[in-house]
């Protein structure tokens, strides 16, 4: 990003304005394309602005973890490779953090019933692998990864030995945990930052909510006051509704 645009974004942020004309708490338009990958059990391609990610789900048998013999597994990985950004150091640290935060939101909301994935206690269970890849980074990869993962899980149809029909994942749609990411630039809080805003931001807050708050991750070198955190939590509950509606429509449709 050029130095002029960096200064420009910081400058207009003081007036709560954004380069693309959005309001501070306004989402970019989301495009979802289902099942773009033939070889996965379920997949989704998400785009907003120029941020593009693909999530693919594979459901494979494996050995349960020793401390959870009656449960299947959930394994989420996220990658933002050389393909999506030229900055190496940002990429590595960022990827790990996004993968782990996405994993936590899904896991803690119990949207996926891991107990139903058990086949034989301690011996065999199904593992749900969600791999999320970035095609282009135009900011807010946290929410992109989360929305892609939820869509891909809903789309998943996998086959199990001995059963004719393809199976759906055991999902509890009341517990869809939707992530909302906020950036603080010079004291003003913006929702769904693009990449330029992320670069200009002092701090970031990602909040995943279902009926409760399931995950929070503060990022960046700046700070939030307790009052600002409460405001973002309130917005996260409001903002999750539109994503939830999209997902529920898909389940029923």
């Amino acid at each position: 990003m050029s130095l002029e645009s960096y200064e420009y974004i910081k400058d207009i942020a003081k007036k709560a304005a954004r380069a693309d004309g959005r309001k501070p708490i306004e989402r970019r338009r989301i495009t979802v394309v289902d099942n773009v990958i033939n070889h996965s059990d379920g997949s989704a391609y998400i785009q907003f602005g120029d941020t593009k990610v693909i999530a693919g789900v594979k459901v494979l048998p494996g050995t349960p973890f020793p401390d959870r013999p009656d449960e299947g597994g959930l394994i989420v990985s996220f990658e933002a490779s050389e393909l999506a950004s030229q900055y190496e150091t940002d990429r590595i640290l960022y990827s790990v953090e996004i993968g782990r935060v996405t994993d936590r939101g899904i896991r803690e909301s119990n949207v996926l019933d891991l107990k139903k994935l058990s086949i034989e206690s301690g011996v065999k269970a199904l593992f749900v692998y969600i791999d999320i890849f970035t095609i282009n980074n135009d900011g807010n990869l946290f929410d992109a990864a989360n929305i892609a993962a939820l869509n891909a899980m809903i789309n998943a149809r996998y086959s199990v030995e001995g059963k004719e029909e393809k199976q759906k994942l055991p999902l509890n749609y009341e517990k869809l945990s939707v992530s909302s990411t906020f950036s603080k630039i010079g004291g003003t809080i913006f929702f769904d930052p693009d990449v330029q805003e992320e670069n200009a931001a002092d701090a970031r807050l990602t909040i995943g909510v279902s009926d409760k708050i399931n995950s929070i991750q503060k990022g960046g070198t700046g700070f939030f006051t307790p009052e600002e955190i409460d405001m973002c939590a309130g917005e996260a509950f409001r903002l999750k509704e539109e994503i939830r509606d999209l997902l529920i429509k898909k389940v029923n449709g």
Binding site: E97, R100, L205, I213, T221, I229, A233
Partner: protein, 235 residues
């Protein structure tokens, strides 16, 4: 329901704390922070030349922070080395410290902070951050404030401060753990993570109880630093 804590503490009571600075004489600054059975040792080197060079920033210093749980710190042995969890924790600690330290006073240089978790009983990232901030103060780095960090959370219907591992594992009670880092005198939250299930109202209460704990830790940190520079500790 969770009416009484497993270790009989009050809901807003911290575990027993030990804090001292100067435990790694080779370092420019160092600290040991122990809370209950969680212990972190932090050492600070620098400001020094930035390596690798491409991390260098012309207008400010950079922090290189490494959090590491040593293999015997938990009941099963953990593989030595830097895993994904260590990476993430190092990142959130670095972010918090970047706010606390006046990095603009060290352009083109690097501050290296290494933290070992020698014993883990929950709250390791908070203990690391508190230890690291004491070590930075011990090294004489100019800072906005010390960081005081503690986990708070919710077990059953109770809001609790400074959870133990045993409490974190009360899954039937829906235990939720929220590590929080404060710059106490500034009312700034520089570290915040959550996984679990809490309402917006709960989150407010959790942050408030965290602040109560952080204020106490803040006093203990200051006392430890004062002891280092007072006459009594010359021995």
């Amino acid at each position: 329901m969770y009416n009484e804590r497993l270790d009989k503490r009050a809901f807003d009571e911290l575990r027993k704390i030990e804090a001292e600075v100067g435990v790694v004489p080779n370092a420019n600054g160092s600290a040991r922070f122990k809370i209950g059975n969680t212990e972190a040792i932090a050492a600070v080197y620098g400001p020094q030349e930035v390596k690798p060079k491409h991390f260098e920033k012309s207008d400010r210093g950079v922090i290189m922070c490494k959090y590491d749980m040593i293999p015997f710190s938990v009941s099963d042995r953990i593989k030595p080395g830097f895993d994904r969890r260590d990476m993430e924790i190092s990142e959130v600690i670095t972010n918090a410290l970047s706010r606390a330290i006046f990095l603009e006073e060290f352009p083109k240089s690097m501050i290296t902070i290494n933290v070992y978790i020698t014993q883990a009983d929950a709250g390791t990232r908070c203990a690391s951050l508190t230890a690291a901030s004491m070590a930075c103060a011990d090294a004489g780095l100019p800072m906005r404030d010390l960081i005081a960090s503690v986990a708070a959370g919710k077990i059953g219907d109770s809001i609790v401060l400074d959870l133990t591992k045993e409490e974190e594992d009360l899954h039937e009670e829906g235990a939720t753990d929220v590590p929080i880092g404060f710059l106490p005198s500034k009312n700034e939250v520089v570290l915040l993570q959550l996984d679990g299930k809490v309402s917006r109202e709960d989150l407010k209460k959790i942050i408030a109880i965290g602040k109560v704990g952080a204020d106490k830790i803040y006093q203990i940190e200051k006392e430890a630093l004062k002891r280092r520079f007072s006459n009594e500790s010359k021995s």
